[in-house]
């Protein structure tokens, strides 16, 4: 897509945000079990946003990460709580990267249409970014499999219609599609700072047919890793949206809030702090932009992972720092629940921790990219 098309897309997201959602809706959804609004979700489907990354043959738009990032960043500026990245980039990406054509034909068009909301359940331990570090077992059983294990940190689980679950078989790690109410599948919700939830999925002899295998041992790992890298980058785009709005709010406040007879934005101490936040925001935008360009050229897995870690590390740190400082700049009012600054901080906390925080991604980067000596 050309940069003109990008501008149009950006405008259409801004327009949607202005008409279709507001912070009051975000507040109302906090802590509710569904944590998203089916009507809004369908509206996003109509606009094509749920299918941005889904190939046209499966009813999507077949666009790239650059476009997914524009949508995600724009919605995150308004703290839209719907699990766009988790459902479409992460779960949808894994589905599309799988090897089960029947399942793709069944699920992807419905995902794009907003009729099925999938969640990816891969991670079991905090801190583990290695997709193979799991102990969930899938034992062959009457032409299908019997699953046992526990999955954590599942974003978008609260309202999901089904889960993509990774599990070890004698042939290696594979992925399954489990509908929500499968017997032996138990979902618990852990409340997050931003009013949404991580799912904890307990699998106790849950059975799944072979037809619901999303990816076999040959493709599962690659599909997972690619989708996770892409999701980390799009989470970075969301963080850019969050930090951008938080900084704008803070700078606006600095222009209007008067103390000691002057707007606080005229005090050099605060000015220089705001500038340092602005620099972090610009660095985040620069690394995101470079990563999006590079990733849409399909680099090898190491280069892709390195870009994902760069984006997630910078945007997580910058997002947390800018939203933390937004509280300080606003003073007491920033610490109230009724003022919006705190909501931005809390969303940044969730986005920074999800899929690995800055420190985890810096360590991954160090493993991926050797230092240059000459």
């Amino acid at each position: 897509m050309s940069s003109d098309h990008h501008s149009l897309l950006r405008d259409s997201v801004a327009d949607f945000v202005a008409r279709g959602t507001d912070i009051a809706r975000v507040r109302k959804l906090r802590g509710t079990p569904a944590e998203y609004d089916r009507a809004v979700w369908r509206k996003m489907a109509e606009l094509g946003w749920l299918g941005v990354l889904i190939p046209e043959q499966y009813g999507g738009l077949g666009l790239g990460l650059a476009e997914a990032a524009i949508v995600a960043e724009g919605l995150a500026r308004a703290l839209v709580p719907e699990p766009l990245t988790a459902a479409t980039v992460l779960a949808g990406g894994v589905l599309a990267g799988g090897d089960n054509e029947t399942l793709k034909n069944e699920l992807l068009p419905r995902l794009a249409a907003g009729e099925v909301l999938p969640a990816l359940a891969w991670q079991e331990n905090a801190g583990a970014l290695d997709v193979t570090a799991i102990s969930t077992q899938a034992l062959p059983f009457e032409g299908g499999f019997r699953l046992n294990g526990e999955k954590r940190f599942i974003a978008g689980a609260a309202g999901a219609d089904g889960y993509i679950v990774s599990a070890n078989t004698p042939q290696g790690m594979v992925l399954f599609w489990l509908a929500r109410h499968t017997p032996g599948v138990d979902l618990k919700l852990e409340p997050l700072a931003d009013g949404r939830h991580f799912g904890v999925l307990r699998l106790s002899d849950a059975t799944v047919t072979a037809e619901n295998q999303v990816a076999g041992a040959a493709t599962a790992r690659g599909a997972l890793e690619k989708a996770l890298d892409h999701a980390a980058v799009i989470a970075g785009a969301e963080l850019c949206g969050v930090m951008g709005r938080a900084l704008d709010m803070s700078v606006d406040y600095m222009k209007t809030r008067v103390q000691f007879g002057k707007p606080i934005g005229s005090f050099q101490g605060l000015q220089h702090r705001a500038v340092d936040l602005y620099i972090q925001k610009q660095l985040s935008a620069a690394v995101l932009e470079e990563a999006l360009q590079a990733l849409d050229q399909h680099p090898d897995a190491t280069a892709r992972a390195a870009y994902a870690s760069r984006v997630k590390a910078r945007c997580s740190d910058a997002g947390l720092r800018i939203t933390r400082e937004a509280i300080q700049i606003h003073g007491a009012i920033g610490f109230t629940d009724e003022y919006d600054a705190g909501l931005y901080l809390k969303r940044a906390m969730v986005l920074a921790a999800w899929l690995g925080n800055a420190q985890q991604h810096r360590r991954r980067y160090a493993r991926l990219v050797p230092p240059e000596f000459e």
């Binding site: 103390q259 000691f260 300080q328 629940d337 906390m349 921790a353 690995g356 800055a358």
Partner: protein, 382 residues
């Protein structure tokens, strides 16, 4: 009543410690949020019954009359045992102010009832447009016969919803310069025209309030000290707040929670983590050293200089850095609300993060403290 200043420091410490350990409710130790009156009332009355609720008041007014040296021991033991802060404005602020500036009638009415937990005070200083810049407050009191009529609004009033009284700064002379023309009064919260609206904070609790004052009639005898001299009265106690808020207790507690979490994750074998942890451990240790210096000044009964502002900055910013490392160390759990079980160790990861945020805002923000140090300690031009 016992004169505790006559007994040895060690004996006093043992006495206090034993009483605290035997009487303070275990489930209220080391709480991050401010407790509600319902929760802490029992303890308040226990202390009150023992005659220990007001360590800082002279014995003739029902306090313990502790020397600075003994008072430090008393508060060290409070902190050591993780005893929560009760609604203590009556004890810490109003009592000493009335003893110094109040009329005999005021002393007779208020002091015993504060001791008994009948009168619970909140502080009416901050206003929507007078946060850091307290001197620009606008709430106005106009004399009308035997009353003052107050109109205006206060904000960030901690636990106003369960206070019986407020000590309030009001403007009584609009012509005067900013710090002048302000008076200090006592206000019964049940007076008609007082409306309290609790404000939820980021941690999800309702600890502070807005208080709207509409034609609130306060008897003229509730004026404390002279008319238009309220600023002097209010300022008298601010430096105490600054050493109190610079106590290493809360960051120390956060450091221990971080250590527990790290141990359960095996992070003391990770030099990368240990480097960050040790840096904060030393920031804390050095905070304790410099705090001890200021405690010595208080013990000697000397006045604290403006340099004490550094204590609050360093303590609260260290607390924040600690709370940020706690989030980082919790990894994916660094956004999960409530207590998390890390292999048997339960840690509320977000609580120190939330509660250390306003620590650099209230009681003189870090910016204000730095302005004070620049102006009064480094003598930099303005």
């Amino acid at each position: 009543m016992t004169d505790y200043n006559q007994i040895s420091d060690e004996a006093f410490r043992t006495t206090v410690r034993t009483f605290f350990e035997q009487n303070y409710p275990a489930h209220l130790r080391f709480t991050a949020r401010r407790l509600r009156w319902e929760e802490i009332k029992g303890w308040y009355l226990t202390l009150s019954g023992k005659g220990w609720i007001a360590p800082n008041w002279p014995r003739e007014h029902g306090g313990m009359g502790l020397s600075p040296q003994k008072m430090i021991i008393y508060f060290e033991e409070i902190e050591r045992w993780g005893i929560a802060r009760a609604p203590d404005h009556g004890i810490v602020q109003v009592g000493p102010i009335l003893i110094k500036f109040g009329s005999d009638a005021q002393k007779r009415e208020y002091l015993p009832r504060i001791l008994a937990g009948e009168y619970i005070f909140c502080q009416g200083y901050s206003e929507p447009n007078a946060g850091s810049d307290l001197a620009s407050l606008r709430t106005e009191a106009v004399r009308d016969g035997g009353h003052f009529v107050i109109n205006g609004q206060k904000i960030w009033t901690t636990l106003a919803q369960e206070s019986t009284h407020m000590y309030i700064l009001v403007r009584t002379d609009k012509q005067a310069k900013k710090q002048e023309g302000i008076s200090f009064m006592l206000l019964d919260m049940k007076t008609p025209g007082v409306t309290v609206r609790p404000i939820r904070n980021l941690a999800g609790h309702e600890e502070f309030c807005e208080v709207f004052l509409e034609n609130v009639r306060v008897p003229a005898q509730n004026l404390v000290g002279e008319l238009n001299r309220g600023w002097t009265i209010a300022k008298a106690l601010l430096s105490y707040e600054r050493i109190n808020i610079g106590s290493p207790r809360r960051p120390q507690y956060a450091l221990k929670r971080l250590a527990l979490l790290a141990r359960s994750k095996g992070l003391f074998d990770d030099p990368g983590f240990v480097d960050k942890f040790t840096q904060l451990q030393l920031d804390m240790a050095d905070l304790a050293s410099i705090y001890a210096r200021y405690v010595e000044v208080v013990k000697r009964g000397e006045a604290l200089g403006q340099d004490v502002s550094l204590l609050k900055i360093w303590a609260m910013e260290t607390w924040q850095r600690l709370s940020e490392l706690l989030l980082e160390t919790a990894q994916e759990y660094g956004c999960v609300t409530g207590e998390i079980d890390f292999d048997g160790v339960k840690v509320d990861v977000l609580s120190p993060f939330y509660y250390s945020r306003p620590a650099t805002i209230y009681g003189g923000s870090s910016e204000i403290q730095r302005n004070i140090l620049a102006k009064y300690v480094l003598n930099l031009p303005s």
